[in-house]
């Protein structure tokens, strides 16, 4: 263990390093080259700082670590309360891991208004980390909303043709949904007088919240709607394909890699943490929705002519697994869900980067305009295959572990869910491999594709870490899972009690 002062400050540090960088960039002169390097440096600094977390994390220990709790605003009683457990720690690291890659991948593709781009990117990083480390509901909401604007601007300014439509749609969907969460948070505050997650949790479990019995279901829904839109869960997913297709590569990477996890993380932390009973009662239809999401996402992905849209729909499908795992209320399910979050972050992030690389060369995502790309771009094809396989869930790669755990959890909860969910794995193999085949194999159908340059050094540097991470996560999942486990156990504790109550009756 390091010095206690560093432990107290490390989360703040990790959170605000990117913001500090962004502020510096604001006043910096408009020299694109230096700005890129500076942004890379800042994001790397953030990544290395965040490595402090897993290194010194007490893995066996449940509960929150690195806690920092200072009063911020006296009325209402808002605290600057941060802390992480095994789940959120990895999400923080995932964020800081992906950001430098985003910087790298945007090196050339962003050439207009470079300064603003990196400012927005770094602000977004701060907000994302903030979401995962906040233990004060208010602080959480604060960061949650703060992710919106930089993301919307990234899509809207740097995106493709229909960027404005996509940005507005993204903004409105999430904005409207999170307003419900705000209402629920306000209600909790009005009744308990605090925003502190732990305090509210204790109050609810102790039955000290007046009117909770009646309002509980609505509160659950309030939170759930906000998270479900973010995930996105089946009927409210329509913003996602648009946002992904129109976003610049870095935007897509962070969107798929981290932003969607905010939703599942929220479900895990708040829906399960605060409303175990309501979660249990609502689990049935949520799981059904999740399964619909898995299958629907996969089926739609299969027929997509657009590469990026395909990956986007695959995200819907994968995130369905996460929700399925979370609402199975089993150790395996939750472990798996958390792991899928991380794995999906890495592999889908990488997929979007790869798609972006192709786009830089051809300025289209249309699958039909490729074909036989493996010939001119062998290294690229190799990376793509590797990541595709990881995403499909090939054993010994990262996708497999999580999906396996989720499915076993789902089987424990109810066999039919597990069985239906398992079809998703097959579907994903179908559409991803079919896509791979269409893009890379066969003859080169368009002559322009013949002269496509292969990956350059910068792109390789951006891709290697994801490939390595995918491999390590597949080979040694315990490195991650041993930290996740205690956290999941804590999260499941009330469900065990509930179950025993049911049994006792």
């Amino acid at each position: 263990m390091n010095s206690p002062t560093l432990d107290g400050a490390i989360l703040t540090l990790v959170t605000f390093i990117p913001l500090a960088g962004a502020l510096l960039l604001i006043v910096a002169p408009r020299r694109d080259r230096e700005i890129r390097w500076f942004a890379l440096g800042v994001s790397l600094l953030g990544f290395f700082a965040s490595l402090h977390l897993p290194v010194h994390f007490a893995r066996a220990q449940a509960g929150f670590q690195y806690e920092l709790n200072v009063p911020w605003i006296p009325t209402p009683n808002i605290h600057y309360h941060m802390g992480i457990d095994g789940i959120s720690m990895w999400l923080v690291v995932l964020t800081t891991f992906l950001t430098p890659l985003c910087v790298l991948i945007s090196w050339k593709s962003i050439h207009d208004r470079v300064k603003e781009f990196f400012i927005l990117l770094l602000i977004l990083e701060t907000a994302l980390i903030g979401v995962f480390v906040s233990l004060d509901l208010f602080l959480f909401y604060f960061f949650w909303e703060a992710t919106l604007i930089p993301m919307a601007l990234l899509i809207g300014i740097y995106g493709h043709e229909r960027r404005v439509y996509a940005a507005v749609k993204f903004f409105l969907y999430t904005m409207v949904a999170s307003v419900f969460m705000l209402a629920a948070i306000l209600w909790l505050y009005a009744k308990t007088g605090t925003f502190d997650f732990v305090a509210i949790q204790t109050a609810i479990r102790g039955g000290q919240v007046a009117g909770f019995a009646g309002a509980g279901a609505w509160l659950f829904l309030g939170f759930f709607v906000a998270f479900a839109v973010k995930v996105p869960l089946f009927p409210v997913h329509t913003w996602l394909p648009d946002a992904h297709v129109e976003a610049p590569t870095a935007g897509s990477v962070l969107l798929a890699g981290v932003l969607l996890k905010m939703g599942t993380y929220g479900m895990l932390r708040f829906n399960l943490g605060l409303f175990p009973e309501q979660s249990r009662t609502n689990a049935k239809w949520i799981m059904v929705l999740a399964i619909i999401g898995i299958i629907y996402g996969a089926l739609v992905a299969m027929v997509q002519p657009n590469l990026k849209k395909l990956i986007a729909y695959s995200s819907i499908s994968h995130l369905g697994f996460v929700v399925l795992g979370i609402f199975s209320f089993t150790q395996a399910g939750l472990d798996g869900a958390t792991f899928v979050m991380l794995a999906h972050g890495v592999s889908t992030g990488a997929l979007f980067m790869l798609a972006g690389i192709l786009y830089e060369r051809r300025h289209t995502y249309d699958i039909a305009s490729f074909g036989g790309i493996a010939t001119p771009m062998p290294v690229y094809a190799t990376f793509f295959l590797f990541i595709t396989l990881a995403s499909v869930g090939l054993p010994l790669l990262n996708g497999f572990v999580g999906e396996f755990l989720v499915l076993s959890g789902a089987f424990q909860a109810r066999a039919v869910y597990g069985a239906l969910g398992a079809t998703g794995v097959i579907w994903s193999a179908c559409y991803l491999l079919w896509m791979y085949q269409r893009v890379f194999f066969g003859k080169v159908t368009h002559d322009v594709n013949l002269s496509l340059p292969d990956l350059n050094g910068r792109e390789q540097i951006a891709l290697w870490p994801t490939a390595v991470a995918a491999l390590i996560m597949g080979v040694a999942p315990l490195l991650w899972l041993n930290a996740i486990d205690p956290a999941v156990q804590t999260a499941l504790a009330p469900f065990v009690q509930l179950a025993s109550k049911v049994v006792g009756q």
């Binding site: 911020w72 006296p74 208004r113 604060f142 903004f171 409207v176 705000l182 306000l186």
Partner: protein, 486 residues
């Protein structure tokens, strides 16, 4: 009532209790007197500077009031306590910002500066007085001072037809509303035999509330509702805002509203006005909904912000429906935040619209992010605050209001409000989208930001962020002030 003896005169401290008003009027008169003496070409700059000094002196005077013991003055006509000082500071600060914004505007529009600045200061006198008055007739006169000066200012661009039209509409509907307010005062006088708010409160608390008092409150509410542009008394707002000079719209959409809300707070809470809840409930819900729906289809940014101000009046009224302990501070905080962000918005607009107020459609804002990054960034900040995004004052404002409503178990109203703020996000976003994501049709250059406007933007931007990051102090102050009111 027997007339008191004429021998007693007001004490010294009583003059301190109207010090901001005295300072503002004195500077207004100085400007009027200097106007014919100074060179016409440089008058705008010079008189503007004097007006600015005047408003700063008024801010200082309001600050000085905090040093003095609270109390009443002029035989219970005004009461200066934390509550009034809060609104004094809001009003005087807005006045200063508006004057800063006007420097350039007056030059560009070639308007005569003397009366303009004097009217702004005199209007501020009325608004300050409104927030400290505890007697209905004085409130009425103060209301008229602020209204009449804004009627005139709205029509200040006399050569332009829409400015005069805006003025005449504002004038007719405003006077109409005033008449309602006055009738309410008369009936309240009839119901309780007094026009002093404290005495009215005593009387209404003491015995059964006469039917007349309900009617009186309703009529007064109608009158004041007109002034704050609450639905269904809002129809004048878009027209007036569209036609009036942009800095003045910034002025009249914030300072008089703040003052009228102060009056409403006093009348409704201190006078223990009967049967206020359902009335406010309906008006708040209507204002939020109509304002937001109206704003959705607007293409003129001034009209858009007019509808938005209707919606914000609705949000603010939600706080009125809540319990006094949390509702009053929430309303006060909202007033301050709203003043900061709205006056900032109009500062940007008044600069961008330039001569003749030509560039006021949303289309004109296309590509502003590229053409003038600072202008676009500040406008974005204010718009985000109007949406209610965290780290801006608008967020905490909404937050306090809705949590106050929830504490009073007004779940329905809160849900309406929350849904509305989600709807509202759309049209503010349209502006931001225009600025950053659309290419302009023609690359007309945007004039560089002059010093005065820069200062105005800095002040309002700082206030917006300050209220968004460290709302604690302001809220604590509002809370202590609200405790005095009850």
């Amino acid at each position: 009532m027997t007339p008191s003896t004429l021998q007693t005169l007001p004490q010294g401290i009583e003059y301190v209790r109207i010090l901001p008003e005295i300072v503002l009027s004195a500077f207004g008169i100085v400007i009027m007197l200097l106007d014919p003496l100074v060179d016409q070409r440089r008058s705008s700059r010079m008189l503007g500077t004097i007006a600015l000094i005047g408003s700063l002196a008024a801010i200082a005077a309001s600050q000085y009031q905090t040093q003095c013991p609270p109390g009443t003055a002029f035989w219970d006509m005004v009461r200066v306590d934390a509550f009034s000082i809060f609104f004094h500071i809001v009003v005087t600060t807005v006045t200063a910002v508006v004057i800063l914004t006007s420097f350039e505007y007056m030059d560009v529009q070639q308007l005569h500066a003397g009366e303009y600045y004097a009217l702004v200061l005199f209007g501020a006198v009325g608004m300050c007085l409104m927030s400290s008055a505890v007697e209905l007739v004085l409130i009425f006169i103060a209301l008229e001072i602020s209204s009449i000066s804004t009627y005139i200012l709205a029509g200040y661009r006399r050569r332009v037809a829409i400015s005069s039209e805006s003025s005449v509409k504002y004038f007719l509907l405003g006077s109409f509303a005033t008449a309602f307010f006055l009738y309410g005062v008369a009936l309240m006088f009839g119901a309780t035999g007094s026009t002093s708010i404290a005495k009215i409160g005593e009387t209404l608390n003491a015995g059964p509330v006469p039917l007349l008092a309900y009617v009186a409150i309703a009529l007064m509410f109608v009158g004041l509702g007109f002034k704050v542009a609450a639905a269904p008394f809002h129809i004048w707002t878009p027209d007036v805002y569209e036609g009036a000079p942009a800095p003045i719209v910034g002025f009249m959409s914030t300072a008089p509203k703040a003052a009228v809300f102060a009056v409403l707070l006093r009348v409704l809470f201190e006078a223990h006005a009967p049967g206020r809840l359902w009335l406010i409930w309906v008006v708040a819900a209507l204002s939020m909904t109509l304002g937001n729906i109206g704003a959705l289809v607007q293409d003129n940014i001034k009209r858009l912000l007019a509808y938005s101000s209707i919606a914000h009046a609705g949000y603010l009224l939600v706080a009125f429906a809540a319990l006094p302990s949390s509702g009053i501070p929430a309303a006060m905080f909202y007033t301050a935040a709203y003043a900061a962000m709205n006056v900032g918005c109009f500062a940007v607009i008044s600069h961008f619209a330039s001569a003749g107020e030509r560039r006021v459609t949303l289309e004109d804002y296309a590509g502003l992010g590229r053409r003038s990054p600072i202008l676009a960034a500040t406008l974005t900040l204010f718009l985000l605050s109007l949406i209610g995004i965290p780290i801006t004052g608008g967020f905490f404002a909404k937050f306090y209001v809705f949590s106050a409503a929830l504490q009073a178990d007004l779940v329905g109203l809160t849900v309406i409000g929350v849904l509305n703020s989600a709807v509202g996000a759309y049209y503010y976003l349209r502006v931001i989208v225009m600025m950053y994501m659309r290419e302009p049709r023609e690359e007309t250059p945007v004039a560089p930001i002059p010093f005065g406007l820069g200062a105005a933007l800095a002040i309002s931007g700082f206030a917006t962020l300050y209220l968004g990051l460290l709302p604690g102090r302001v809220l604590e102050y509002a809370r202590s002030a609200a405790a005095l009111l009850r």
